[in-house]
């Protein structure tokens, strides 16, 4: 478990991270979402004890990172796939990391195998593709078989195969009961992998909720199709809904739930061809939360709804 309390980091007058309080729990994938410069990487550096917080604290399994003995056995982190010496062979990179924490040498071959790099272990990292470097970074994170895993932008630069592979890996690590924190600005990816989402913008925590709740609670619409859309559109508008025509055929309805729409149609003898609730994509939710202008427009909506 990762616990942050009032975590704050100031660089000069700039607050990179502003009073963050959150818990990252085991057994699920927690997504750390935010635009560039939101403070995700700073927070990760604070978690790993690379930077010292200006105020507040963050603990891993109840202890500050710097107090962990052999931290690689408790926390594995992928920070920047490029952060390896290009002249060093992949195997040697993992070997020195293992040696710092008294991790048995055999683990090097094991993590190379788990990340599909067995054939590349003897090669110098400088010749690696970004995808291979990413795999090597993940191999390094898995080296100490840690309970907590932190991946900063893990799908960056991966080809479709690699993305598929890492998605499976992240899910399986959480299924093994580990604490998994992944940061990303790729909403679509997060929607597929994360169970829980922390949304960060300008150093502040804007949202801390389950993926399902987040997508359900905020926005979305209902797609309605009938033989002839116009009469139903008039009726729904009269009941306070906002109705917009769909590009091809049909209506996008907000402000009424599917049951109310069905009831209205039934009362007036209109046959429904399709009635599909469409949850907002995480991307929309994210943009609404992080963009102050969009947020201003979006927030009154729940009160307006009914």
């Amino acid at each position: 478990m990762i616990e942050a309390d009032e975590l704050t980091k100031t660089y000069g007058r700039h607050r990179a991270v502003d009073r963050l309080t959150f818990r990252v729990l085991p057994g699920r994938v927690t997504g750390f979402l935010g635009p560039n410069g939101a403070g995700k990487s700073t927070t990760i550096r604070l978690i790993l004890g690379l930077d010292s917080p200006t105020h507040g604290r963050v603990r891993i399994n109840g202890r500050p990172y710097r107090a962990l003995t052999q931290p690689l056995r408790q926390v594995g982190a992928l920070l920047d796939a490029h952060a390896t010496h290009g002249g060093r062979r992949a195997r040697d990179h993992l070997l020195w990391l293992a040696q710092t924490n008294d991790i048995p040498r055999g683990r090097v071959a094991e993590v190379l195998r788990r990340t599909g790099l067995t054939e590349e272990g003897h090669r110098r990292v400088g010749g690696f593709s970004l995808g291979m470097k990413q795999r090597l970074g993940i191999a390094a994170a898995l080296l100490g078989d840690p309970q907590v895993l932190i991946f900063d932008e893990p799908v960056n630069g991966l080809d479709p195969d690699g993305v598929h592979w890492i998605r499976g890996l992240i899910r399986s690590l959480a299924a093994e009961g580990r604490t998994v924190l992944i940061s990303s600005h790729l909403m679509s990816e997060m929607q597929l992998t994360a169970d829980h989402v922390l949304i960060l913008a300008r150093g502040r925590l804007l949202s801390d909720s389950g993926m399902a709740d987040l997508v359900r609670s905020d926005g979305g619409d209902v797609l309605v199709r009938t033989a002839c859309d116009t009469p139903l559109a008039t009726l729904l508008t009269a009941r306070g809904a906002t109705v917009a025509p769909e590009p091809a055929h049909g209506l996008a309805v907000t402000g009424l739930d599917p049951a109310e729409i069905a009831a209205t149609a039934a009362t007036h003898g209109i046959a429904l061809v399709e009635l599909t609730p469409r949850p907002p994509s995480l991307e929309e939710v994210f943009r609404r939360i992080t963009d102050p202008e969009l947020r201003y427009r979006a927030e009154p909506r729940p009160q307006d709804a009914r």
Binding site: L48, L50, S52, V75, H82, A83, H85, W96, T100
Partner: protein, 260 residues
């Protein structure tokens, strides 16, 4: 710092031996010292008969054939610099400190490994270059042996000074975190400080000049001819140890108090 973990020393050794710059730098130092020692010995014996009495008096069978060691000193300093700055430039330093949050220990292990490698190689180079040069000088019976006064001290001093250069390079690398900056400062300190100290010293005063690392190196490695600008061997040792102490203290302070 109870029970210093040998695992960190093993890790630093793996780091040092697994990059190409290490064997490359050591190879350059080896070729430079031994080849130059042999070449200088050869040119000495071929020109000896035409040398003036003064030139013959200033000839030092060890020191004169050890010019290549200046190149080795620079190479060893670069070995130390790169051992630290390459971690910063590649970003490896974050992995290092995530793996070992006690940064002072990382520095200690790094300096131990670096110092040992530099000392062992430095001594090997000094003795090899010595025997190579003396075998050539024997052609004119100009050679000396390990029993000759000051010779053993000069060879040990050369090895020790190479070790000092490597550690000082690593300390300056830790302070500046940047290869080019650290190389400039280290080169300036090691090779230009004599000139600068001389320029700002009052006439005839050698007190400040003796604090130049290059003068200290010369003070450690002469055998027959001694320039008054060079400190006596004991003082030269103290000068080196002072630079090491200041460098290591500053590096530790910087490392433990600053974010990565």
């Amino acid at each position: 710092m109870t029970r210093f973990p040998t695992s960190l020393v093993a890790a630093e050794w793996t780091k040092l031996r697994s990059v190409r710059s290490t064997p490359l730098i050591l190879a350059v130092a080896t070729v430079a010292t031994i080849a130059i020692a042999v070449l200088q010995a050869r040119s000495t014996i071929s020109a000896w008969d035409s040398w003036t009495a003064r030139a013959r008096a200033e000839f030092d069978p060890v020191f004169t054939t050890f010019t290549g060691f200046q190149l080795a000193q620079m190479a060893f300093a670069l070995l130390g610099i790169l051992a630290v700055t390459a971690e910063y430039s590649t970003g490896t330093i974050r992995s290092t400190f995530a793996a070992v949050p006690r940064r002072g220990r990382v520095l200690t292990a790094k300096l131990l490994v670096l110092g040992t490698v530099a000392l062992v190689t430095g001594l090997a180079l000094a003795f090899t270059a010595f025997f190579a040069a003396q075998s050539v000088l024997a052609g004119k019976h100009l050679d000396v042996t390990l029993d000759t006064p000051n010779v053993l001290r000069a060879l040990l001093g050369q090895g020790f000074y190479l070790c000092t250069a490597a550690i000082l390079g690593a300390a300056i690398g830790t302070l500046l975190r940047h290869t080019a900056g650290a190389t400039t400062l280290t080169t300036g300190l090691m090779f230009l400080s004599t000139t600068v100290f001389k320029a700002i010293s009052p006439d005839g005063s050698t007190a400040l000049i003796h604090w130049s690392p290059a003068a200290a190196a010369e003070g450690l490695t002469w055998t027959t001819f001694h320039d008054p600008d060079w400190p006596p061997p004991g003082s030269a040792l103290i000068v080196c140890l002072t630079y090491l102490a200041v460098g290591i203290t500053a590096a530790t302070w910087r490392l433990t108090r600053r974010d990565v």
